[in-house]
Symmetry: C2
Subunit: 458 residues, 2 copies
């Protein structure tokens, strides 16, 4: 196959230096998740279509698979035998838990960093293939509330360890909302949540009107709903603000207590770049959440909407014998990294792992250069030997183009080994068995550009 | 979706402890590849069908993709717009090189560890989804032969760093074969290679007969072909054995020199468990190889055929302006790891990352236990806090079931902090700001069972 191919819309790919950034983001997430005892798993990328379907409805955004050799015979119509690519990591995780429930220890903490696929039309910040990082804790039969705090704090700690622009975790609690609406005397709580969820997209008056027409609220009840939804606080002061609205309900009280615990627990892991907030208009449309809910936003990328989210679900999975409650949160790795590298906010100090280019005087002296490289590698120093015995000036420029900081000149009959820092021009005698580059030069570094203009390129 | 799901044939998934093994294999490969200056990339999993097709023919084993929402409209028939899952990592790499040729530095060293898919019927050692680890070096216009030695040596070093059963690299060179056949006076060199390639599957007499009937060889020429194919050596002594057959040809000489250089270069990276051999019957059927070829075998798993392979191709890709020669080798990660864990040859010392379970005296004392965990994590020690304040004996058994070596008992009004090694039962006073587990307990270890019965479970 020849001819220059063109990129496929919605399937972003990274150049080697950009992949350094993504890989370091993934490595950092993994390190923090593992520090907190989360086990990494990987699931197959396909599920039977009947598992991907929600409530019997096949979601429109799924890629189905067909064997090309099966074309002639026509495709199987049984949705338990047809396969599709998973569109998130929650559906496969729930299936994995059910399939292996006898072999897992509960509560089961797992992280999973894998791509998912959606066949939808690509748009800004939305891709057809995208990598996600999920952490979840799942119990068998029961799962204590304190795990809500635990799993959210892990993601706060993980993002605090990333070189991202400021990130905000905005928490709410479905019990709080439901209890408030119930205490208020609203009968159609679900409809009210659905309307309030549109508060950022519609004028206030339309929301009030829809609360009246669609959720059966009186004008006073609608106003109370809006007052609740306008409460935001970076500490637990929201509890008093809600109480000041004068609504009383047991479920509301539970929700307030839980949300306060999440805010306090996560604040401990927050940093100057990761903030935690109670935002009482966050609902997350999906109706299976039953307690804690969260959406994650990144400063300068508000047009991407949330870059992550999650919450508590009392029935992540059910095998007829047991129910498996879970709580988890997902971060969009592609959703954040692809625009951050495209906009130059994050870049890598070099495009290759090599810290050293070992120069080559003549093709005949290749074994001497290889010996230097082997000595450096045996002590964990990544390096490469020049491809051809060009003039040393040319070899230095090769290192420059790749961002390799050091060029090594092997000893010959007249001179000893020398190593040159090509950034400063400093050249020193060195022993391949002893010389070590500064720590920060050993691996490619992720460089944060504070002055980068933030604009999304798809 | 409820009900217990069943595994999908051909899509192996690993339990958390098994995934520890796979992850450590991947981490080790990556570390060695990077030490040698190979940059990691990841490509999208889909390619247009016309790129996956070989010479216009759609391979039978490809999974095609269709958008479920596009069902009604019928599928696009233009193969440049239809997508399929890649079946190896070479096709997407070649496309990536062409697409980004202006942004890459050549020679470009890359590694890629990703799944690939084949829609074929699953059989022993063959999966529908399988992870591969590929290293390749690609040049623009030209690529010196010494890169053959370089890339093969990297894979030898990488596998030597893995806890695998003995692995054998069996090398040959297509120039050597072609030159020998040409010097012998055979006219249909390709047909002869195709016949000799079946030497392991057919009786010697049939091969001789087919060489005569299919490749136009005389009985004497056929015998010479078989003599060449029977030569094997773990050093460069094969050169004299070939010369003793009395065939003379320039291309044969080049092939002998190249193969000798590969054998010598790789022997330097070999170990007591990774051996390197010249095996002159290795041809690798695929006809685009033009020099070095290699197949990799694992002791006890010969029934899987090769667990990896590769070689030199003078035209990995071509964009009409430039040709991109390449040399590379691929290791089947699933092909090796899945049977090794299924057979109990490799296992993990525990199923969770946690080195410490911090015990919980009462639900009210959770903040004290969390504080111990935070202190340990700040020094890089993975840990988890007990889910519930059960009797300590029960908490210790939880740690045992997960393979966690240490249980920490936080200080209370009467006693100081204690940590117990639950394997020995030893318990000592400890300070959360100072105590560190032995290095080998910090992360789950891969355990090699020397006495494991080797049998494949699919």
């Amino acid at each position: 196959m020849s001819g220059k191919p063109t990129p496929l819309s919605g399937f972003p790919e990274l150049l080697p230096a950009e992949r350094v950034v993504e890989q370091q983001v993934i490595d950092t997430l993994r390190r923090v998740f593992e520090l907190h005892g989360f086990a990494g798993i990987e699931t197959r990328v396909v599920e039977p279509l009947d598992r991907l379907a929600k409530g019997g409805e096949i979601d429109k955004e799924i890629y189905g698979l067909h064997r090309l050799q099966g074309e002639a015979e026509g495709r199987d119509v049984d949705p338990s035998r047809q396969l599709g690519l998973h569109f998130d990591l929650t559906v496969p995780f729930a299936r994995y838990v059910l399939e292996n429930s006898g072999k897992l220890e509960f509560p089961f903490r797992r992280y999973q960093i894998q791509p998912a696929w959606r066949g939808e039309r690509p748009q800004v910040g939305r891709y057809r293939q995208f990598t996600q990082a999920d952490v979840d804790i799942v119990g068998q039969g029961e799962l204590g509330f304190h795990h809500d705090v635990e799993v959210m704090r892990v993601m706060v700690a993980a993002i605090a360890a990333l070189p991202f622009p400021p990130v905000s975790f905005q928490f709410n609690n479905r019990k709080l909302i439901q209890g408030f609406y119930r205490g208020l005397g609203l009968t159609d709580v679900t409809a009210a949540i659905r309307v309030i969820d549109k508060l950022d997209k519609m004028p206030r008056e339309v929301v009030v009107e829809q609360l009246t027409t669609l959720a059966g609220a009186s004008p006073e009840q609608a106003e109370q709903c809006l007052r609740l939804a306008s409460i935001r606080a970076s500490d637990t002061s929201f509890v008093e603000e809600v109480r000041a609205l004068g609504v009383e309900d047991d479920l509301l009280e539970t929700g307030l207590t839980e949300l306060a615990a999440v805010i306090e627990g996560c604040a401990a892991a927050a940093s100057d770049r990761v903030s935690v907030e109670a935002n009482l208009r966050i609902a997350r449309g999906l109706d299976y959440y039953t307690g804690t809910v969260v959406e994650i936003f990144m400063a300068g990328y508000e047009h991407l909407k949330s870059v992550g989210g999650g919450g508590r679900y009392d029935a992540l999975a059910d095998d007829g014998k047991n129910t498996y409650p879970g709580v988890g949160v997902s971060l969009g790795v592609s959703r954040t990294v692809v625009p951050l590298v495209a906009d130059g906010v994050l870049s890598a100090s070099r495009s290759v792992p090599s810290a050293v280019l070992v120069a080559l005087a003549t093709e005949e002296s290749r074994p001497s250069s290889e010996a230097v490289a082997a000595a450096l590698r045996s002590r964990g120093i990544p390096c490469e030997v020049a491809a051809a015995p060009q003039r040393f000036g040319k070899q230095i420029r090769t290192a420059e183009r790749r961002g390799i900081p050091f060029v090594w000149f092997p000893a010959d009959a007249e001179t000893n080994h020398h190593v040159k820092d090509i950034r400063s021009g400093d050249q020193v005698e060195a022993d391949p068995a002893l010389w070590t580059p500064p720590d920060q030069d050993l691996r490619p570094q992720v460089v944060v550009s504070p002055s980068s203009t933030i604009k999304e390129t798809q």
